[in-house]
């Protein structure tokens, strides 16, 4: 998996490049894993005064 981070102002965009086969492992059933990742990354960004956005791309 490749992660590309782009910072623009106070928005941090993370793009996770995942191969199609492994997409399910990153997204999880009903998107649970992706959702948990977003919650955690957003919580981390708060301290830095940032707003974080995650894209999952194959």
């Amino acid at each position: 998996m490749r992660v590309v981070a782009v910072e623009e102002g106070d928005t941090l965009s993370l793009s996770l490049y995942v191969s199609k086969d492994e997409m399910g492992k990153v997204i999880g059933k009903q998107g649970r894993i992706a959702r948990a990742l977003r919650v955690l990354v957003r919580a981390s960004a708060v301290r830095a005064g940032k707003h974080a956005v995650i894209d999952i791309v194959d």
Partner: protein, 229 residues
Amino acid sequence: MATQRALAELDIAPGELRDDQYRVDVLVQPEPGYLGVEGTDALVEVTLLLEESEFPAAEEADAFDVAENDEEANGEEWIPEAGSARLRELLTTVMDGMGVEGKVRIVERADVLSADVSGEDLGILIGKRGQAIDALEYLANVILYPNPAARKRVVVDAEGYKERRRQSIEKVAVRRAEEVVRRGRPVQLEPMTAAERKIVHLVLKEWQEVVTESQGREPTRAVVISPAH
């Protein structure tokens, strides 16, 4: 189709959103099938246009949905180590990334691996109503034990937050259940996270006089306690 799949990836059920709550940008047009050759689906970008209160878990989240084949994944194996060492490594990595300082204490039993983080300022690690610590615990479960056949339950807590939360929710649940029994009328509790609702269901499971059920949609999904008939 591509839009539906992208929405499904964002954990959004068909029809859950109004049309003005998301934006679809078509990046690549779909191609129809021809003489039994399968066509390709469109490549779209779906952007949710929601207020935080409407959908806190995925606001402004983007998803791509591609129907092309990509190169094969290189199958890197995770070498299994002792669960506690791996959990410690995972937690310290996440805490470093979050800028949270704390000590991690881990207890490993036959079926449960539990970690408690102690430190000065763990608010960010816990998150609003425990959302961050619940997310971390869920990820730890999935990462450490991807195979459900050979897994332990992983519990992650910070300064005993979950235990305190459990006790206070149990207290509220019991008090409201007594009210239901006394008045013979259902009551609806405050909206809760999935982990919080589970505490209510569990503590009232043994009660013969009441039944519990979750109603509504996240993030305002709430438990309703009703008299049993």
